[in-house]
Amino acid sequence: MEKDARPKWDSPVQFVLACVSYAVGLGNVWRFPYLCQMHGGGGFLIPYLLMLFLEGVPLFYLELAIGQKMRLGSIGAWTAISPYLGGMGLASVVTSLYLCLYYNIINAWSFWYLFHSFQSVLPWAECPINANRTGPIKECEQATPTQYFFYRETLDISSSIEENGGIHTGQALCLILAWIITYLFIVRGVKSTGKVVYFTATFPYVVLFVYLIRGITLHGAINGVKYMFTPKMEQLANPTTWINAATQIFFSLGLGFGSLIAFSSYNQYNNNFERQAIVVSLINSGTSIFASIVTFAIYGFKATVNYENCLERTRLLLLNAFNLAEDSITVDTVYDWIEKLNATYPEQFAELNTRLENCDLESELDTAVEGTGLAFIVYSEAIKNMPLSQLWSVLYFIMLLLLGMGSMLGNVTAIITPLRDFKVISLAEGSVLLAGLVCLFCLLLGLGFTTTSGSYWFTMFNDYGATFSLLFIVLIEVITVSYIYGIKRFEKDIEDMLGHRPNWYWKIMWTFTSPLLLIALFIFYIINYIKGGTPTYQAWNKELGKSVVTEYPVFGQVFIGLLLASSVSCVPLTALYVYCRKRKHGGHHKRQRTVSTISA
């Protein structure tokens, strides 16, 4: 009789919602629309959906199966499958740890923006006035108010990763809040997580739907949506398109972190995870497409507003320079007038040329942004132009928070579940303490990201902390299950749990397609890394008011190497350790076994 029965989800619905909440995260909102735009709009859906079925769903199914069968976190589960490859679980935990460290900073930023939305004028709508009260602050004038608010007031960013100031207290407070809320969500394990996911998984869809209606009714939104859906089929010939589609599916589903294994380890033994895997993967991709429609409607609106503002500025410039009556030039006739004036007053016009902007709707739409830039700069710029902007701002940042918090649940669970399995502290209260310690540890280290150069460290972690190691981990995972553990044994386990064997589609994907795809991605990453030369990052230049590409200093590159090596090396190191231990204790263990069989 087990004293500590493994906690379970109250119902399979909770498990599905937990997976949805984990998989549907910020990447669906800020990475997929960017890829869609870069790789030919509607045409990108073809490689995306293809990769979903070749790689996404089979690997998702695999991880769920392992978790549900072994009923342990990632370390225990992989050790049980093959003792030499228990290092995979450890690598997953290390990668999850890195993710936890930097991911909650995004939630801190969302909190910051959310709290600042409760003002009559949104602080990123206008430039603050300088000390002399003669005009806006210079840095804000060079850049835009939204960029200024993000880089100066939110981050207080330094000009490079080498320079460091102190901790930004506002950021630190928001980070503490984010970690306390994360702790609250996971403190009772699946009991608390199971209830929270009802909200974190469903409310973002409500907000997305509301935003869809708002977005489509915005002036000029149709330009953006048209731009997105016009497929540029020639992009399909570009191999980068296919690679990016594969990578996006891979990271979007959150494979390799151990969170899926952790979640499914709390399932009933006979839970039908096959159907759930397909459902969650489809929901994840569907959300990406849905979010990109909203994003492109917003893009279209923002581009149209900027274009019309540009035309208005040009109109004023012409009026003032040539002293024409106010209603002689309208926004529509600006270009005609430019030609007319160029013909009649060529010298005066030539003087004007330097100040004349080239207003182009296409180029406004072409500015493809991803990541934090999209979420915090582009979107907030669009929001400030909407009527009732405070309401839309609050809704939007609540949605970002829920998406981010939902993913954090999975990340922290991936760390705590294996540690719990080690029975470090076996009591129920012990798990409360363990969760608290993990959160505290991550919070203290995460404070480093709230310093003035913290955003650059964030970018480093985001670009290098999890990408390469995950590919490696999942590749080893699928090879282990297919060849070392054996596909036949795996089939039998699934039959044991579900009552039927997986059909030929799954088996072919696990044994051939997914490993091949992963190896191709892996090689591509290595080649890209070598070809790319010194890794670079975008540093914010105060004087110019924009980001410049800067190379990482030596210590930065060393740290990147450490990040990559620390998680990847867990696998060979653990294998070596287990091998050495087995050799030492091999004799003892055999003798013990014979004794116990005789006494029984």
């Binding site: 409760f118 006035i129 009260r133 005009g135 306390i180 003032n320 002293n323 106010e326 002689s328 029984a600």
Partner: protein, 218 residues
């Protein structure tokens, strides 16, 4: 007689024209954007409006330089364009051929900017004095930044949640501890009973087999 008056008038206008030269040193260019500001309710710019402008500026000069009585005739305007922009200079009431220096004019306009704007139903942006940047409104700095208030609210709610959670777990533990001694007594009684009643006892559960379950996959 009439010729003299006519001659004097011509002379004065000629002098005025000489004094008021666009882009000369002691004047400013004014630009009005009436249609932008008022849209459909825009008024037409005509000589009466110009008269109002000169009067308002004379008022501003009077406020600035106390003692000197500036009249409408002291404000000379030239180079009117269809944009509705023009150049103006201010002559001293004591000596009409001498211009008031730029700094005083600037000060005067700055001080009475609000009054000048409201006379024309315009704002700092739509009634521009080119070369005199408007003094922007001082930023409102509340004692507690509003974001901190919202943060405090949320933090308070979360803190209350944690306390409730911890308290409920402590209460649950207490209840368990209270029930445990009762359970143990009941158990002992039943065990004693079974020993008395039947020969076959429950026995002690042998753990050595159940622990191995996890590691042997046959």
């Amino acid at each position: 007689m009439f010729e003299k008056i006519f001659f004097l008038l011509c002379l004065s206008t000629a002098l005025a024209e000489q004094l008021c030269r666009p882009e000369a040193s002691d004047g400013y260019r004014v630009r009005l954007s009436i249609k932008t500001a008022l849209g459909d309710e825009a008024y037409v710019w005509n000589d009466n409006e110009m008269f109002l402008f000169r009067a308002t500026l004379a008022f501003a000069m009077r406020n600035q330089i106390s003692g000197q009585e500036f009249e409408v005739s002291n404000i000379i305007v030239c180079d009117e364009t269809p944009r509705v922009s023009f150049w103006f200079v201010v002559t001293s009431p004591q000596n009409t051929s001498q211009l008031v220096d730029k700094e005083s004019v600037e000060e005067a306009v700055r001080k009475s900017r609000n009054r000048i704007n409201s006379a024309f139903l315009l704002t700092d942006k739509t009634l521009e004095f080119i070369g005199i940047p408007p003094t922007l409104a001082a930023p409102v700095n509340p004692d507690t930044p509003p974001w901190l208030i919202v943060f405090g609210l949320v933090m308070g709610a979360v803190g209350a949640g944690i306390i409730v959670l911890l308290a409920s777990s402590v209460v649950q533990k207490k209840r368990k501890n209270d029930e445990k001694p009762d359970d143990e007594e009941i158990d002992e009684e039943t065990r004693v009973k079974t020993v008395e009643n039947s020969a076959a006892s429950e026995g002690i559960y042998n753990r050595s087999f159940s622990d191995d379950e996890r590691f042997t996959h046959m």
